[in-house]
């Protein structure tokens, strides 16, 4: 009984007036608040470390491939848009289009993760590690050549891999949960104009992950 | 089945006993060759740094003069002590040597390690002794072996399982008394020795063959010599370090 109430896309009824938001959506908003604090801790530490660093920071273009990542960012934003489309189409009762757009979103997210993994492999090959620069690697030469500041490469690696890594982890979780929704709810046609909570809630999460990435892209890759 | 096990155990025990009673290093060939030699230091030996033990009365009391850190110990005959001499190459690769059951004892006495330089076989036990009754911590900063860091608040002996892989040299230090250092040569074979105050050493029980012998000193680095021995014979190998 309580179950049924929690699942309905309306405030549990009868009940004292709370927020006019159904539980799952409210729950997601609250969860996102905690996520903000989590990424806040990581990003805040990054800012503190970067401004307290001995000597200047590595210039973005040298280690990281901005072009690929820019494309990746574009991809993620698109997937956010397709998520909105999916939501809109189920809201005005078109499950077919919803399925299509949801699939697009899943693909977008999957590609993002794939490209990030590819980027990581490439970076590690060039000698960029969470602990800094590997001895005798391509980047190590750049450090000796003075193109890269040796003093801060350690911090650079630590912060870069931690922040982007955890964002990647969040994207992966998003993709998996969307896939789950697609297989268990979208395909069997369980989403209706009166109950598409799953789409809306995962959508919220997806937009949040997208937003975080835009911040990360700016502070890690651009400045 | 259980019977067999018992027999095996007893047998093993006997073997162990036999090995333990053998005078020369365990596992050496009975008709083995011997390499003996003398390590000299030429030039004026530098003064060893004095140690300020003022804040460690128990240790200070064990010295009549200002204690020094015995980095360079030279005997009357100019022999250099605390040099670790071992067979670097030349031993048959597949040879296996039984591990002594007696643990190597390293004593912390007067806030210094005794011995300061010593050899230990892979898997051979280590008995760490605190004779000072003040807190020592023993940090073994192995690179190949897993480092350990333990403490001894009072007079006590700590038995530790041996090291797992050979490592020359493996430094020991105490963080309560920053000057305390020791060096262990961890080897898979028993063919090593540390020079005494007269600078002499003897490696017994070598099988016939040609060997590269290395002498290591914490301040003057390493020197090597090549020696070829036939079964049963004794060959000299002398080393000379120059004081910088």
């Amino acid at each position: 009984m309580s179950q049924a109430m929690a699942d309905a896309m309306s405030p549990p009824f009868p009940a004292e007036r709370g927020l006019d938001v159904y539980n799952k959506k409210l729950g997601m908003w609250i969860f996102l608040a905690s996520e903000v604090m989590f990424f806040g801790a990581l990003i805040g530490s990054y800012v503190i470390l970067r401004f307290g660093a001995p000597g200047e920071w590595a210039r973005p273009g040298v280690v990281l491939n901005i072009k690929i990542t820019a494309f990746n960012t574009f991809l993620l934003i698109c997937s956010s848009v397709s998520m909105v489309k999916a939501y809109a189409s189920i809201a005005d009762g078109d499950p077919k289009k919803m399925k299509f757009w949801l699939l697009m979103t899943i693909l977008g997210g999957a590609c993002f993760v794939g490209i990030q993994v590819f980027e990581y492999i490439h970076l590690v090959e060039r000698g960029f590690l969470p602990s800094g620069v590997r001895e005798g690697s391509e980047l190590a030469e750049l450090v000796t050549a003075g193109t890269l500041p040796g003093a801060t490469m350690g911090l650079y690696g630590s912060t870069f891999f931690t922040m982007t890594g955890f964002h990647g982890f969040h994207v992966t979780c998003g993709v998996l949960s969307m896939l789950y929704l697609y297989l268990t709810k979208a395909l069997p046609g369980k989403f209706t104009t009166t109950d598409y909570a799953g789409i809306e809630v995962v959508g919220l999460y997806w937009h949040f992950v997208d937003l975080v990435w835009i911040i990360l892209f700016t502070i890690v890759y651009l400045v | 089945m259980r019977r067999l096990g018992a027999v095996a155990v007893v047998g093993a025990g006997l073997v162990v006993l036999a090995l333990a009673t053998v005078r020369r290093p365990a596992g050496a060939a009975a008709d083995g060759a011997t390499v003996t030699g003398h390590v000299k230091l030429t030039g004026k030996a530098p003064a060893n740094p004095a140690i300020d033990m003022g804040e460690e009365p128990k240790c200070k009391a064990k010295y009549t003069t200002t204690p020094t850190d015995p980095v360079v110990v030279v005997g009357k005959t100019g022999g250099l002590a605390n040099v670790f001499v071992y067979v670097k190459t030349g031993l048959p690769a597949d040879a296996k040597y039984p591990t002594p059951t007696t643990a190597v004892e390293i004593d912390q006495n007067g806030c210094l390690y005794h011995p300061r330089v010593f050899g230990v076989m892979v898997g051979q036990g280590l008995a760490i002794k605190n004779s000072d009754g003040v807190l020592h911590n023993i940090k073994a900063l192995g690179k190949k072996n897993r480092p350990f860091n333990i403490s001894q608040p009072t007079n006590m002996v700590t038995q530790r399982a041996g090291f797992t892989v050979s490592e020359v040299m493996l430094p020991f230090e105490c963080n309560v008394h920053g000057w305390m250092h020791a060096f262990a040569g961890v080897l898979p074979d028993p063919f090593f020795a540390t020079t005494g105050d007269d600078g002499t050493f003897t490696i017994k029980g070598l099988p016939a063959g040609t060997y590269t012998i290395e002498a290591w000193h914490e301040k003057y680095g390493v020197q090597t010599a090549t020696v070829t021995v036939k079964a049963g014979e004794t060959k000299p190998a002398d080393f000379t370090f120059t004081a910088k």
Partner: protein, 249 residues
């Protein structure tokens, strides 16, 4: 045993102890008020047949009172103690005539460096640290370091003259603590932290590490000797000559 704060041996001690006493009085009054009140209520209003509790949801005036009084007291307390705080730890609190001493903390020793005759501490860097011969990493190329005296676990200070200690740590966070001086300052690796005090009473005290720094934390203890200025100079001279004789302390 000692039921009060340790004996006072620095210029900070009296004012800090006064602060302690003031807070003790304030809190003491509140403490008695509350605890006695509780006991009285417990006895006076214990359940009795036919007694009915007085039905009330509270009284705004009462609550305003016991909100305002603590608030005002706390703000005043804050302002007053801040004056003292700035005097002790403030950025520019170190007196100009302060005698400089270097304190280098490592697991589990205090290495104290005295500037020697030239009154200047030599440059140090962790890369130069040699466990036995150069525990504090003094830079031999720096002329100021030539006459520096490095002593293990012994802090000697002159009485009646401000002393500023430059705290540096080699490995973990330690904390420089002399109870009789009422001085405490964490020693953080990577930071150069100054702390100053002025000893008043010649005698022997103890310097302890008050931040868990590993298995030998409890053993990280140094003697503190407060000398008269004359004795102190004599000690420095004696150590200096000794140092020349041995090459190192």
């Amino acid at each position: 045993m000692n039921w009060w704060l340790p004996p006072q041996a620095s210029t900070f001690a009296p004012s800090i102890d006064l602060g302690f006493l003031v807070i003790l009085i304030i809190t003491g009054i509140t403490f008695v008020l509350v605890e006695v009140g509780l006991i009285v209520f417990v006895i006076r209003y214990r359940q009795r047949p036919g007694q009915k509790a007085h039905y009330t949801h509270g009284s705004t005036p009462a609550e305003v009172i016991w909100t305002a009084i603590p608030a005002v007291t706390m703000v005043i307390l804050g302002i007053v103690s801040n004056g003292l705080w700035v005097k002790i730890k403030g950025r520019n609190s170190v007196p100009a005539n302060a005698y400089t001493i270097g304190v280098h903390a490592k697991q589990f020793e205090w290495w104290i460096t005295y500037p020697g005759p030239d009154g200047k501490l030599g440059r140090t860097s962790t890369s130069l640290i040699q466990k036995t011969t150069n525990p504090t990493g003094l830079d031999p190329d720096d002329p100021a370091s030539k006459d520096d005296i490095v002593v293990r676990n012994q802090l000697h200070v002159p009485a009646g003259r401000p002393v500023v200690v430059y705290l540096s740590s080699e490995d973990v966070i330690h904390s420089f603590y002399v109870p009789q001086f009422r001085v405490r300052q964490d020693v953080v690796p990577g930071l150069e932290i100054k702390a100053w005090f002025e000893a008043t009473v010649p005698g022997q005290y103890e310097l302890g590490c008050s931040m868990l720094c590993g298995m030998g934390h409890y053993k990280m203890r140094a003697q503190v000797f407060v000398h008269t200025q004359a004795d102190f100079d004599a000690w420095v001279a004696q150590r200096a000559s000794q140092a020349k004789g041995e090459g190192t302390s």
